[in-house]
Amino acid sequence: MVSKRNHPLEQSHYDDPTLEEYVLGQLLPGEEEAIRQHLTECAVCRTKVAAYRAACQRIKSGLFQKLDEVAPGPRLSFDHIASEWRKPPRRITFLYRLQQLMPSTSSLVLLALFVVAFLLVMPPSDTAALRNLGLIEDYNGPRSVVAASTDDGLVILRLSAGDVEVVSHMSYMIDPRNLQFSPDGQWLALQQGRTLHIIETLNQGAHIRLDLDDSADWSWSPDGQRLAYTDGEGGLYVFDIATQTSRLLVPAEECAWGRPVWTSDGQQIAYSMVKPLPGSGASHDQQSIWRVDPSNGFRVELTRNDAPDDVLLVPAAWVQDDNALLVWDVKAGAIGSLPELYYVDAAAHHLEPLRGYSVAAGTRLAWPVSARGMVLAIHRDQLVFLDLDQSTRQSIPDQFPRPHNLAWAPNGAWMAYTVSGMAEGQGLYVFALQDGESHQVELPGGAVEKAVSWAGAEHLFVIRQPLDSSSAELWVVPLTTGQDPQRVLTNIRMPQTGPYVGWRWQDVLAMQVIQ
């Protein structure tokens, strides 16, 4: 800091570099102000600053004055740059090329109009995908809902007399599994990847997604308001449609596995317990069949498997007014072998072999139980009907063709079945329990019958595979009206074969009659 004395010889001064920086304007505002104050008092510094500033001004004005008088000659021009500019590879962006193509706003408007017109004229991909289904136009079967897996995704249809409505087309659903409609047809449950999708079968309906493991399985309650599911990791849950929430019934450490089976009144659920869970590679230490009350989670062991390493017991259906359980076994490592049937007395906790074998279709029985407690079985290479309600057994004549796939009518009085290896259109039969006779239902040629299910009391849904085709068709077959069978849709994906035997049709197609 400079002194305050006024005599030049007694004053302190700023050094030359600082004063030069001051002139060049390179000091901080505080320093600049201090020097400005000092210059008012110090003639020596003031003279130095003035001299330096004059020199700088002279340099600057001299340069400006002379350089600004000069202009370049014609050699300096853009022409050379322009010719180079147009040569490849100039970096011209797509945006600029676009702007060159459409220099005016009117062109943009015309382009937009063209795009709109194009979209209006061209059918959306949905339309093309639906056209591939070959949907029926004059459907005359019962009111139903159908879900079909195609190469273009999953399609949900509502069928009614003379009308087919596409409820939804989910093109992203390319590999669904285990399609199951609720009994009222209002909801569809299916798995894709590790997600359980619960889809309302209405246009723009609800769609709930739940996380699962690959080996999950589920079934709807008889009233269609709850879905019981094992998550593949040992837990058993109930999803409630009304609240759209899941509730844990059996914790994962209790190793619930496979398909839960509801009683007809929806008060109990039978399930299998396997420790450790299948798929872990370890031998099974424990296996048993349990039942659980879905309202409070109270559970009881119904029976225990004495040989969990050899076979696993799987509940199939409740019989005898929900007092007993039909169980079948999955033989470990015996792919292709027939599963044996068992009977579990729920009150006595007693497991009894039924001396009969059945046929599996994936994780279900291909020969299910009827509403009257009847089940088809094989005993000593003979087909027999086991009446589980009456605990009787009825032999079937040798000429009775062995069913490949079987379905019971809702009243349990009729049985429809397909027979493999038959000529096209010749593989569908209906058996009347009362008179013990089978009747062949002839269908148009060109396809073979693969599976059947009842569509109400008077119609059948038949899955057929056209000759030389790698896709399947769904047909509706009237039994009483004398009308011709109709093809409802085609180009359904063929399913994978199940882990044991049979075709997993439930992975590609589901049908449900609705009231």
């Binding site: 570099p17 030069e20 060049l24 390179q26 003031r46 003279t47 003035a50 001299a51 330096y52 500033r53 004059a54 020199a55 700088c56 001004q57 002279r58 340099i59 600057k60 001299g62 340069l63 400006f64 004055q65 002379k66 350089l67 600004d68 008088e69 000069v70 202009a71 370049p72 000659g73 050699r75 300096l76 021009s77 853009f78 050379h80 740059i81 322009a82 180079e84 500019w85 147009r86 100039r90 970096r91 011209i92 962006t93 945006l95 600029y96 090329r97 702007q99």
Partner: protein, 192 residues
């Protein structure tokens, strides 16, 4: 005029934007080159080179790193150095090239300007010619291109302190060349 939209358009390939940029910067670039080299033909060549390179490679320019003029000045200084290296500059005084009538605007100087011109011919510009190229760059960038120390450092590819040192040294040398007495006289005129 804000040159950023023009630069972006030119970066997208718009030739018209490139032409506008050329028109905006050609005079400044030429005069900077002339200040650096002192020869009109060389300055024209260097300015053409610098503008051609800058515009054909404008996609290399990064807006967030420097202003376009700083980037262009950097190219111009670099090209001027190249030119200087390739050619031994003839010892022609600036007064000579400034006197080339066909390249000077139609400008009729007044009596004061004549006096100044004589002074310049005999004083500032001859002193400028005696500076080393780097010191001359510092003077031209600071007093003609009005660059900050930071910009000077970027353009001359040196640190800020080096740029500052070069400028002060150049001014000092010019002051000696021009003569302290004359400067003092001018100073007294200025502060009066």
């Amino acid at each position: 005029m804000d040159d950023v939209p023009l630069i972006r358009r030119a970066q997208e390939g718009d030739e018209r934007a490139a032409r506008l940029l050329f028109d905006m910067y050609q005079l400044r670039t030429y005069r900077l080159a002339l200040g650096l080299l002192g020869d009109t033909a060389d300055a024209e060549e260097v300015a053409q080179d610098a503008l051609t390179y800058a515009l054909l490679n404008i996609y290399r320019y990064k807006e967030h790193l420097s202003s376009f003029s700083t980037w262009l000045h950097t190219i111009t200084v670099s090209r001027a150095r190249d030119k200087r290296r390739r050619k031994v500059l003839p010892s022609i005084s600036m007064a000579q090239w400034l006197g080339m009538g066909n390249q000077i605007r139609d400008y009729e100087p007044g009596p004061e300007a004549h006096i100044m011109r004589r002074e310049v011919e005999g004083g500032l510009l001859s002193a400028l010619n005696k500076l080393s190229p780097k010191l001359r760059e510092a003077i031209v960038l600071r007093f003609y291109a009005d660059c900050t120390y930071k910009e000077m450092g970027e353009i001359m590819d040196c640190s800020l302190n080096t740029a500052r040192s070069r400028l002060r040294l150049a001014i000092e040398k010019l002051r000696v060349q021009l003569g302290e007495e004359q400067v003092r006289w001018l100073a007294s005129e200025t502060i009066r």
